[in-house]
Assembly symmetry: C2
Homo-oligomer: 209 residues x 2
């Protein structure tokens, strides 16, 4: 059986859980408490030398890391990965956008707000990260004004990659009501067949300070 090393409050992990659920693939979830260093142990570093979750272990023990590479691995041959060459490149375009221009701001601010500590150094970095996160949301909003999905006319792994931290952006102090096209797209993704939420009801994020 597939085995997913993950931390429930991670949007990067949620991307993979969401796609696994939509594809109806069974997997064993191994939760690692990344706040206590569980992704930096010798055992886990042998699986992913970059020390990050999520990591997907295949039945033969091979490990695939990097959330968006895992999405690609699972999506090939399914409705979430287009057949057209240009559309495939556009899906990857949005997935690289997500990791470079979106996640480092939306996910990091969310992490600081939820898990703390919001110390002086972080407060100082917050305005720059906020501005860059808003810029990423602006790019998404403009793109979605005339489209239902990021690429083509149906959901791809570009939507799944961007959904994870966008739908949770308010946890990091962003105001989603400023982005109506994003709001409609979030509703569209959440109502697609086989959707699952990121967290169990009543989940309380652990705090570091």
């Amino acid at each position: 059986m597939l085995r997913l090393y993950d931390y429930l409050d991670s949007g990067n992990g949620y991307k993979v859980r969401l796609l696994l659920a939509k594809l109806g693939l069974a997997y064993e979830l191994v939760e690692l408490d990344i706040l206590k260093g569980a992704s930096r142990t010798k055992d886990f570093l042998a699986k992913n030398p970059n020390g990050r979750i999520p990591a997907l272990e295949l039945e033969d023990g091979t490990v695939i890391a990097e959330s968006n590479a895992i999405l690609f691995y699972l999506a090939e041959g399914t409705r979430f990965w287009p057949e057209d060459r240009l559309a495939r490149a556009q899906v990857l375009h949005w997935m690289f956008f997500e990791q470079y221009s979106h996640e480092p701001y939306l996910a990091v601010l969310r992490f600081w707000y939820r898990h703390g500590p919001m110390d002086a150094a972080r407060r100082q970095q917050e305005p720059d990260k906020r501005e860059r996160g808003e810029a990423a949301l602006e790019v998404m909003e403009r793109h979605l004004l005339s489209r239902s999905y990021f690429v083509g006319n149906s959901m791809t792994i570009a939507d799944i990659a961007l959904y994870a931290y966008t739908h949770a952006a308010e946890d990091g102090g962003f105001t989603l009501s400023r982005y109506p096209a994003i709001g409609l797209w979030l509703d569209r993704i959440a109502s697609d067949h086989g959707h699952v939420p990121m967290l169990p009801e009543g989940y309380v994020p652990e705090r570091l300070g």
Copy 2:
């Protein structure tokens, strides 16, 4: 003809120029002075709303942005993109690693060192970026101790993506002699058929301060 919007001193742009050269594809180079805001003009934002180079314009006017998505687009069907499903996911693994765990440290420090200004705020951020950049180089070094290329037994776009800012890491104050396996790999890539350097001889980087 393909048209590449680029800035010569960009490693992200160099990735694309290197692959285009190796594939023997002709293209028109449109240099944008990103230091003077040329990637944030109204005209360019109509091509890439995220306002970044490189961007590849196809003959029909379609624009593909994100350096690693461009590499993917150009590499499908060539020796630089593997046929095996797992190998493809591993190539993308290293390309996402490059954009998330490598480029934000190696490229940013290189940019600050070469183009300035190295002001107080940047000096304060330098140790953290240095540490994260060294961590990325460590991950690469360990991986390359037992391998000639990042994935499989021949060069892929994972190598091209990682080569660009790694081979220029000393511009950002990193010491490559500390990473002998990386050094051998850099030589291997540079001696592969059709290699081209990043910059013309005698290139002097523009300074902002």
